[in-house]
């Protein structure tokens, strides 16, 4: 084990877990955000049914992200979590509402149904915004003293974190919209193309703003990109320049898939590509910090034997998890529809024939 850089490996595993979460639950939450724009109950049912079999598995990546952080970098977990106490609380309560809404919306009618639809929508939106606030607070840095959080209750709330929050929510909306493009057909798919086109503009604008802002947050990030004003270091900038350039290319491709070729799968996978590039950009800016500008992955690492024992589990289980996750997606491949999956509760469906007592 001496030759392995365990903290680095663990940073990569956690990065993968968080990325999986962002993409997979991202489209779930995006669908929740788009819920009020669906136009009809049939469309809403189709949208919800398209994710009903997989949302639970998708959300498990969030637990792996939290649990993995605690296991592999307990010092980072302990220093950062109290810093985002409130947005984490918002996120959890929002996820409660939107999680149970899957079950309860289809089991209720009339006003109850409308209510759970709203819970699904608002829960998804608040969860997305809260995750953005957590990400913003993470990027802008945490006040740490002696491995414990030493800041105020509202440190997470800044113009920067608010901007990131809107960015994350629009990114999820784009993911959700392109997912609907892929999983629905006819009028709903056409509608989703419109949603995707509009949210793409938001996403690009916010990505650009956040990317520039990050350069001003800490000198280390701007130096990494060779953009520590007034010194522009082309030797650093040029090798990294393909990342923002690829964002532009991918965005154009995505737009073409939406407007020109009316591609089914293209937009969704282009969006995943955009997320991956944004993620990569952040990783370039922040590495090797796991609590930016305070704790590096090596400083915050758990004891080597603790990281090693769980690494064994990850190496065995993660390929297995990815395999059966892929299998579940494959089982539920193809277009979703309003009357497959959950079927809406309607009156007069009771079928007990032995009910002769009264």
């Amino acid at each position: 084990m001496e030759t392995l850089d365990l903290p680095l490996i663990w940073a990569a595993i956690l990065a993968l877990a968080v990325f999986m979460y962002v993409v997979l639950d991202g489209f779930d939450l995006g669908i929740g955000i788009l819920f009020p724009f669906a136009g009809s109950d049939t469309n809403r049912n189709t949208m919800m049914n398209s994710i009903a079999p997989v949302w639970d598995g998708n959300e498990t990546w969030l637990v792996l992200g939290g649990g993995g952080l605690m296991a592999a970098f307990p010092a980072a977990y302990a220093a950062f979590m109290p810093a985002v106490y409130m947005p984490i609380g918002f996120m959890l309560t929002a996820l409660i509402f939107r999680g149970v809404a899957f079950e309860l919306r289809f089991k209720s009618k009339g006003a109850g149904r409308k209510w759970w639809g709203r819970a699904f929508n608002i829960g998804s939106l608040v969860a997305a915004l809260s995750q953005g606030l957590v990400l913003g607070a993470f990027i802008q840095g945490t006040n740490v003293f002696g491995n414990q959080f030493a800041g105020g209750a509202f440190d997470w709330l800044t113009p920067f974190s608010a901007l990131v929050a809107v960015g994350v929510a629009s990114g999820y909306t784009l993911l959700g919209a392109t997912w609907v493009v892929m999983k629905a057909d006819g009028e709903l798919a056409e509608k989703a193309r419109g949603w995707a086109g509009r949210s793409l503009l938001f996403v690009l604008a916010l990505m650009a703003m956040v990317s520039c802002w990050v350069l001003f947050l800490d000198i280390q990030a701007s130096q990494r990109w060779g953009l520590a004003w007034p010194v522009i270091d082309l030797k650093k900038l040029l090798p990294l320049a393909p990342v923002p350039l690829a964002v532009g290319v991918l965005a154009l491709w995505l737009n073409r898939g939406l407007q020109v070729t009316k591609s089914t799968y293209g937009p969704f996978f282009c969006t995943i590509g955009l997320f991956a590039l944004g993620y990569l950009g952040l990783a370039i800016s922040l590495f090797p910090y796991i609590v930016p500008y305070r704790l590096t992955v090596w400083q915050a690492a758990a004891a080597p034997n603790s990281q090693a024992i769980l690494l064994v589990g990850v190496l065995i289980m993660l390929p297995l998890i990815l395999t059966y996750t892929a299998y579940v997606y494959w089982v539920f491949r193809g277009k979703a529809s309003a009357d497959v999956g959950y079927t809406p509760a309607t009156p007069g469906q009771r079928t007990e024939t032995l009910n002769t007592g009264r």
Partner: protein
């Protein structure tokens, strides 16, 4: 201020975990029950089993969702409210919880999708495998979480350097001495909890004369299980009690209500009102001489009294003392119901014992009461420590303000009140409706046991689906409506 944040953080943990444990306790047992029902259907071809499956799986789905969302809260609370605990014990607890996510949560969550929505998309055999995987997943989950809890109750296999726990021996950490007792005790408790819910619902349906054939089946299966497991639980609980006697003397003294120490022949205190402040019991009712024997299995069993521990090292005696008696009381009732009900189920009289049904309905929530009381004994009894004897609860809490903890506690109370009331309401509505009980053929009923069944070959079925997925989906939807 510091104490306030501590107390509030403890209240928040107690509140959220109490809500959470209700659902896993129920779904662990229910998942196994569903696997048994589906297995019986495949084996016998009797359609009542699949009707029961389709009925309970709806209730399972809601309970599972409630368990998942309340569980995510738990996994983040270690960081938000207990960051010092996470920092100091993270090397030990982190990997255990990590293994729970890797080996259980993903398994359950992924195959749940197939379990709930996959009928018609995968063959009956694969569907049964999915159900069984979910059932096994719930048990794996129980394994890891109880391994973590057992280590906190009686830590072994670690080294303590500068206040931080490091693992010296993983085997000793995972299989700490009290772990087998706790795991068996909890799994039995889950099965009993589910059995009493199933039996209670069946009795209600019998009273309403709904789905008589299916309800009778539920009664017989449930009561049979209770007749076996309830007495077993008494044995498991007693063995677990002996392990507490060996490992957690202050908790043991609080359970027994002993302030004084005894070298043997201690009295058995049945009821009392422990007075923490004045270090004595009020209104004590006790049986002299037999306490050592009942609690330790030996007339000469020495009992260390609470007075041997400094006041700041004692748990809240009244809570532990009373929660224990509630748990044991419910357990005794369960045994009585197991005896009567088991006999009735075995002889077949249960179908005509209408006078008995209201009692079964009343007993439906008994498992939840016992589980909650039992966990209160375990967790309050461990105080004032998070890691027994080594890390105080006061040194585990996050450096966050009392206001934040209070506010989030308030929000959680409101949210849980809304969401869980709604969840229980919908569960009740489905339960009261009863299973479908008509003669309509259920989905793709299999022929009995071992004849050739090419259309049930999962891979071939999937090949067909690749071409005709739409048709199959429609079919599945119709079954969903059934």
């Amino acid at each position: 201020m510091e104490l306030d944040a501590l107390l509030l953080a403890r209240l928040q943990f107690a509140f959220t975990i109490s809500f959470h444990i209700i659902f896993p306790a129920f779904t662990i047992g229910l998942a196994s029950y569903l696997a048994v029902l589906e297995g019986l259907w495949l084996r016998t071809g009797n359609d009542k089993f699949i009707r029961l499956y389709e009925y309970w799986v709806k209730i399972f789905a809601i309970s599972f969702a409630l368990g998942v969302v309340s569980g995510i809260v738990m996994s983040y609370q270690f960081g938000t409210n207990w960051s010092r605990f996470s920092e100091l014990a993270g090397n030990v607890i982190g990997p255990l919880l990590g293994y729970e996510v890797l080996t259980a949560f993903f398994l359950e969550a992924s195959f749940l999708g197939i379990m709930l929505f996959g009928r018609g998309l995968v063959g009956p055999g694969l569907h049964f495998i999915a159900t069984s995987i979910v059932a096994v997943g719930t048990l794996i989950s129980a394994f890891w979480i109880l391994a973590a809890n057992s280590w906190m109750q009686f830590p072994t296999g670690h080294e303590l350097r500068d206040g931080v726990f490091y693992v010296a021996d993983w085997w000793a950490v995972v299989f700490s001495p009290t772990f087998p007792y706790r795991l068996v005790h909890m799994v039995l408790a889950s099965y009993l909890t589910t059995a009493f819910v199933v039996v209670g619902v069946a009795a209600y349906l019998m009273l309403r004369r709904r789905a008589l054939e299916e309800s009778l089946t539920m009664l017989r299966m449930g009561l049979g299980l209770i007749a076996i497991l309830a007495p077993l639980q008494l044995v498991a609980g007693h063995e677990h009690g002996l392990s507490v006697y060996d490992t957690q003397p202050s908790k043991f003294a609080a359970i027994e209500g002993h302030w004084q120490s005894y070298q043997g022949n201690a009295p058995l205190i049945l009821f009392a009102w422990p007075d923490q402040e004045n270090q004595r019991n009020l209104y004590e009712i006790k049986i002299p001489e037999i306490g050592s024997f009942v609690a330790t299995g030996s007339w000469n069993g020495a009992i260390t009294g609470l007075l041997e521990f400094p006041p700041e090292d004692r748990p809240n005696v009244a809570i532990v003392f009373w929660a224990f008696r509630i748990m044991v009381g419910v357990g005794m009732l369960m045994i009585a119901f197991g005896l009567v009900g088991g006999l009735a189920a075995w002889t077949g009289w249960i179908g005509r014992m209408r006078w008995f049904y209201p009692f079964l309905v009343l007993m439906a929530p008994s498992g939840f009461v016992a589980v909650l009381a039992g966990w209160i004994v375990a967790e309050v009894g461990r105080q004032p420590y998070t890691v027994y004897g080594l890390l105080r609860t006061a040194d585990s809490v996050s450096p966050v303000s009392a206001e934040q903890v209070a506010l989030s506690l308030l929000v959680f109370i409101i949210v849980y009140a809304i969401v869980f009331t709604a969840g229980v309401f919908y569960i009740w509505r489905i339960a009261a409706q009863g299973p479908a009980s008509d003669t309509k053929p259920p989905p793709a009923a299999p022929a009995p046991t071992t004849d050739k069944k090419p259309e049930r070959d999962p891979f071939k079925a999937m090949d067909e689906l690749r071409d005709g997925a739409d048709g199959a989906r429609k079919e599945a939807a119709q079954h969903g409506n059934a």
